[in-house]
Amino acid sequence: MEQHAKRVAKSHKNTGMKDLRNSWLKYATIAVGILLALFIVILLALIVTKPTPEGLFASIMSEEIHFAIILSLLTSLVSTFLCILIGVPAAYALARYLFKGKNVVNALLDMPLALPPLVAGLGLLLFFGTTNIGRGLAEIGLTFVFTPLGIIAAQFFVNIPFMLRIMRSTFESINPRYEYVAKTLGCSDAQALWRVTLPMSAPGFFAGSVITWAKGIGEFGAALLLAGAIKWKTETLPIALFLNMSCGNLNMAISAATILIIISVVALYIFERYGGASRF
């Protein structure tokens, strides 16, 4: 009897070891992952290697691409700043306080994430083009329709959920007792936030800003509807890519794409490096 039990145990052990070493699930899933990664590399390589290096360099040095780079940098920096200005306080409230309708507000603030940018752009166009608020803003000189201001508004609206979500999870990961201690050590609510919670959330803040900025640079759909695709006026990098592609100017299109790829890679690296706990 005992011997039999031993034998059973032994055979179990053998097949068990075999299963451990040769799990088909392991190999199949790893293969899927690697194939997908390869596909991405191939796509990127295809874009960058399509034109001759000289042609690509000449396009990158062209005035049109310089204009697009500068416009993209300016609009994305301003819209990121606005996302910080609005997103950080809102995220703090959502992480720290209980209030009526919090769940609804939470869900609505995530809405732009799920919304197709074109739809968001349509809404923005109607808001700035047809309402009294929009007309009032235009009267004091803030015209959003078919202007660079519109690009900023589009980037802000589409990307605020990124800032918000990252900062919300960052604040949520910080024990409120740090603030309690700060308050017993002479801080007001605002001082506790400024001296303790904000410095502690620096990595999340940094990661959130970078991802918001990178998304802003790539923003196309909403910006297209609100600001239009106007050469030398609202021509950001993605718009330059689109305009040049439409009229067969492949080198120019690809140089815009190449710069966008570089920005994405840098942003992804920074996010992975410093995002840490604040992934979402």
Partner: protein
């Protein structure tokens, strides 16, 4: 939060007193401390500190400091930055801050760590830093929320000594929350027992642990022998009838249904019946012997089960075995009735 409710908590803490609050997890101890500190506004009632009503004051104006179990050191600041944090709030001149920080750090023997960041410190060092951060403020009241629970035994003992020394030195009023009874006996001038958002008993440690006044405390403080019975008065004492067994007590007030306890260490076990002044003596059978290392717990069935604790020496001397007959003896004054 919202789930925790404090009710009817009345506590008078004397100046310079070391009060320890004990209670099971979820008793509301931390909420009580945070309410005193001003984190949560109480729905009703008031908090008076040194004759001043501070119920509506924000935490920063109360001069009450908190030390938590998990230290809550600011990770982006060095030990020096942490200890000096409150002094910066007070806008003290920089050299004065530096002086006081060094002083407080020296007092807690962490002055060699001032430049380090909290995540490079051991648990004991972190808690010393947290304590230094609080006492450097010279608070009118120091709140300690299970300050030693996250530390290993040796570090804990060191810090108990440290706390006792600091308390003597500064004469700070301390409220210390714990569920560890060692800390109660080592530190407390007075102990308050909390359960379910309520202070159920408050007094000198010996008093609370000798004469628990309700079944909850008896259970919580580890009283083994709790009996319910009917009490009847006799001359100079009272008799308690517990399932037919008559126990004599000198503390019974009044008649009727009562609870009685006898602490295990007050019950004497012997092979022969002892002739003594002790009024209670029963014959019973040993049903269980549990070796706890330092002491042996012996359960004897004498009609009702009694638990007695004897030393290892006594146990070896008596050669006790399960199923054997022994005598139990305890004084009438050891029977506490509530």
């Amino acid at each position: 939060m919202g789930e925790f409710v404090l009710r009817n908590v009345t506590l008078d803490i004397d100046q310079g007193e070391y009060l320890v609050i004990v209670g099971p997890t979820g008793a509301g101890k931390t909420i009580l401390l945070e309410t005193i500190a001003g984190i949560y506004p109480p729905d009703s009632g008031s908090i008076i500190l040194e004759g001043r009503d501070i119920t509506g004051l924000p935490p920063r104006e109360r001069n009450i400091c908190v030390v938590y179990q998990d230290y809550m050191l600011f990770p982006h600041l060095t030990v020096e930055g942490n200890i000096g944090f409150g002094l910066i709030s007070r806008q003290m001149p920089q050299d004065e801050i530096r002086k006081r920080v060094v002083e407080a750090a020296a007092l807690l023997s962490i002055d060699h760590l001032l430049h380090r960041y909290p995540d490079t410190l051991s648990g004991g060092e972190q808690q010393r830093t947290a304590i230094a951060r609080a006492i450097v403020m010279e608070p009118a009241l120091l709140l300690l929320d299970e300050p030693l629970s996250a530390l290993d035994g040796q570090t804990r003992e060191m810090l108990i000594k440290e706390l006792r020394r600091l308390h003597k030195l500064y004469k700070i009023t301390v409220v210390h929350v714990t569920h560890n009874f060692e800390e109660v006996f080592a530190l407390a001038d007075r102990v308050a027992v909390m359960n379910d958002g309520d202070i159920v008993q408050c007094g000198h440690p010996d008093e609370v642990f000798r004469k628990p006044n309700c079944a909850f405390i008896a259970n919580f403080t580890g009283v083994e022998n709790i009996f319910t019975g009917t009490c009847s008065q006799q001359v100079g004492a009272s008799a308690i009838n517990v399932d037919g067994l008559t126990i004599i007590s000198s503390t019974c007030k009044g008649e009727g249904e009562i609870c009685a306890t006898v602490r295990p260490e007050d019950i004497l076990i012997s092979r022969e019946q002892i002739q003594s002044s002790a009024r209670n003596s029963f014959k019973g059978t040993i049903t269980d012997i549990v070796n706890n290392g330092m002491v042996i717990k012996v359960t004897v069935d004498a009609g009702i089960p009694f638990v007695s604790v004897i030393t290892r020496q006594g146990y070896e001397h008596l050669h006790l075995n399960e199923g054997e007959e022994v005598y139990l003896t305890f004084k009438a004054s050891a029977v506490h009735v509530f």
